[in-house]
């Protein structure tokens, strides 16, 4: 599997670390009650198909970025 790093280009998946669902909006620092944070942190759609996630090019430029891919085929999808 190849992952497109926006800075370094397509690289082997072994250079990356997965950072979870990127479709959810993190509550602003200093805001959000228990329920808001609970929903943000623990509940996920986990779709089969197009999905936007965080990845970090950890054996590379160390930048975090959003990647939209089809979770069933790993095909890149335009967000």
């Amino acid at each position: 599997m190849r992952i497109p790093c926006p800075y370094c280009g397509d690289r082997d998946h072994s250079e990356f670390r997965y950072g979870g669902d990127a479709t959810k909006l993190r509550p602003k620092h200093g805001t959000g009650d228990l329920d808001t944070w609970h929903d943000y942190y623990f509940t996920f759609e986990n779709p089969k198909g197009p999905h936007t996630e965080y990845w970090q090019h950890v054996l590379g430029c160390r930048q975090w970025f959003k990647l939209t891919r089809n979770t069933a085929t790993n095909a890149k999808v335009e967000p």
């Binding site: 599997m1 190849r2 950072g19 993190r26 620092h29 959000g32 228990l34 943000y40 942190y41 930048q63």
Partner: protein
Amino acid sequence: MTAFRRTPSGGRIDRSIPIAFHYNGKSATGFEGDSIASALLANNHTIIGRSFKYHRPRGFLSAGLEEPNGLFTLGEGAETIPNTIGTTTMLKPGMKVKSQNAWPSPTFDVMAINSLASPLFTAGFYYKTFMGPTKGAWMFFEPFIRRAAGLGKATPDKGHERYDTRNAFCDVLVIGSGPAGLAAALNAGRAGARVILAEQDCELGGNLLSTQLESEENWRRTVNDELLSLRNVRILTNSTVQGLYDHNQAVISVGLNILEVVQAKTIIHAAGAFERPLVFQNNDKPGVMLASALRTYLNRFALAPKRRAVIVTNNDSAYTVAFDLAKADVAVTIAEIRAQPSGEMLSSAAQLGIAVFPNSGIADVLGDKHLQAVKLSGRHAVIIECDVLGMSGGWNPAVHLTSHGGIKPVYDERIASFIPGLFAEGQFGAGAMLGNFGILEAVRDGNSAAEQAIAKLGLKPTTRKGEEPSVSEERPYAIEPKWVLNATDKKAFIDFQNDVTLSDVKQAHQEGYLSVEHLKRYTTMGMGTDQGKTSNMNALAIMAGLRGMAIQDTGTTTFRPPFAPLSIGAIAGRSVGKHFRPTRRSPLHAWHENNGATFIEAGFWQRAWYYNWAGSTPESAYIKEMQVVRSNVGIADVSTLGKIDVQGPDAAEFLNRVYVNGFAKLPIGKARYGVMLNDDGIVLDDGTTSRISEAKYYMTTTTAQAGEVMSWLEYLLQCHWTDLDVHVASLTDEWGGMAVSGPNSREALALAFPDEDMSNEALPYMGVKDITFGGSTVRLLRLSFSGELAYEVHCPANYTISLWEHIMRAAASLDIKPYGLEALASLRIEKGHVAGLELDHRNTLDDLGLGKMASTQKDYIGRALRQRENLQAPDRWSLVGLELMEPDKKIRGGAILFAANDEIKGHGRGYITSVTWSVELNKFIALGLYKGGLKHEGEVIIAAFPIRNEQVRLKILSPHFIDKEGARLNA
């Protein structure tokens, strides 16, 4: 039994180069160009093994990669290689070849008694015997089956073979070098694409290596030579594409020892097709082979059946075999399953003196161990004495690789087999694997696949079109599938390697294992090293027949990598021995090495565990090392701590968010202990952060969480808090550090840095200052992990050894001594500092007794979810100190804690995390997590260690065993 003879001329062997080898300990000779299989056949070894379950005699079925029977062990001792496919491995001088699954020899096998007991081994035998109510039978059968079965044995000894893994990139990967692959590679190569041509055989040509036609051989050679001359074409022979993965990544085994991972922009599948056997009584008897194999043995290896061959077929392809055999003076009879084969075929056969019996088949194969005669079925139920029987049930395109990405193949009535469904993005097919079996068709397919790949790549197509071989157009391939020739008996084999018969498939059907995936698991069909290359199609077609379904609707089992057997050594590559995983060394490593340290692995790190000045075992050494710190001064390597440079105008705000305690007002020149939580409110890490200047901080993390914390800070800054102007950089490798600890540590540093004021006023507890010493920046931090008066001294890693040596020399008069990880970790237990064993990503601040650190004045990460009901429950397992009440016994890390009156059973009320001998208290002490924690202070509880059947009494205490007031720290 002589079934084959060498032809006096022809073939691709070199009769002038004899090759001596050993087979089962006896000498034999073949020729250059022989495979193991052809050499054995030439030496009259027609029975080369015993079958897996019934120990029936078996010979070679094929001449290729699909071979189910001809597996051998090569070499001896540490260089043993089991399960080598004899049909595709070329003979080498001195090769030691041993048959497998036969004892004492393939021709006399004591286990053949299984054959008589065969009802025992029918389909579902394993399921029923070992999964069902008679499970106990396993105890009886296990050694018996294990010894009798098994396809070769791997050696436990370390050999000298070198294995490696490498990476490659190309524009076009061509899989297979038959006519289609050759044409595709040539055209892609001429267009200037970077081409890799992968061929499993030792020579390019595929099916063309088995031809008698000079025109075909000439074309093959011309293309071969041009490919060799193209610098942009890499030819990999002896190379099997084992798997295709997302985004056109191919994994190729190159020979036995190398695994190459190829990232291809486009892939052209030209993997060809496998001939399939026919299902009839005793079709596994040595001498019964695939018809195409007879042609390969004849034309490539110069081996003709001695006198007479019978061919049984349902399609046209076997006629080519018959014609070639007849031309080599073999008497040939064809048992033609179809009622009306083409007139053209019949007249050609007649011209060559070949008898054809239409509407016929095979009723039985006769002979003791080896085939001696066949009995035809149908109207001409004659018995024909012969040396070999060639069978052709049609051809199955090698769709395996096209399906690895999850694309199912589709059934094609035209060829009565499956062809690739869709191709994945950037992949194309050509030739026999599309069901186009003619040579010209394959070449034209190859040309067109190359054109498509070139267009996809955006390259200019070559102006020089690939020439076609000068052969006449073939008539279209014709076949009438007939899946079973006689439906009666138990000895009509479908899967030769796993001994699955027609009646096994019927039994699976009767017992309700209807889907092909269930059929496979119930009968073990297709589960051998050959992955059912010769058997799957027949089995699923027969199942479709039994169920009255269309073959398309029955479907195929799932194709998964690897395509063919490969060595585990190549998968592991060089990641063995000391390279099994990376190792990490402190910048002080060389000093430790030269000064009597014993090392211990901690994560990737090699850490100094204890030093030989203190003792020769860790148990004795660490206590002496602790004593030095408690009573004098010691020096320890703390370079493994994570260290992070945090800079920018918003650094204070950033730190204030990530730590639970306040960092907004940390003064310059001060360090502060801080704890971080994850978003979920669980403790992530602890450490100190120092303010070096207005907008510059120096963070330390635990050794274990250094990478995790760095990624976390980057995540927050890059993904969420983009408005904060903060820059982080890892300094873990840039800075080394040492702890100088003990009541005499101040004096030691005063000796080492005589120009610096080391007084308590100038550098108080939690004070930090940067000095320049000996040409380097040196950072003095008054921190203590041990609970004693202590300092950490950090500097850029290039200078750490020199600085450490300087301190050792300067403080020599104090008798300063190095101490290792064991003492370091034990001193902190006495002080009650938590470390990795307690920070296990399951504990809250309160669990660790750190709840009071959390600020009520500000927000911090994890604050909201820390309030979850479960995390606030009053009886959570939380940190306690423990002391041993029975001085003659031991406390063990991981022991399970129980209240005094509890039954000693189950998970208890907690467990021991860390244990040490306390030099100060003169007894064993421990840290642990206990339900309700310090609410039970003073209670005597039980620590059980069930695997050693030990129980000891412990008393719960505050985890701060020494200096609760911190007088020593502030001294």
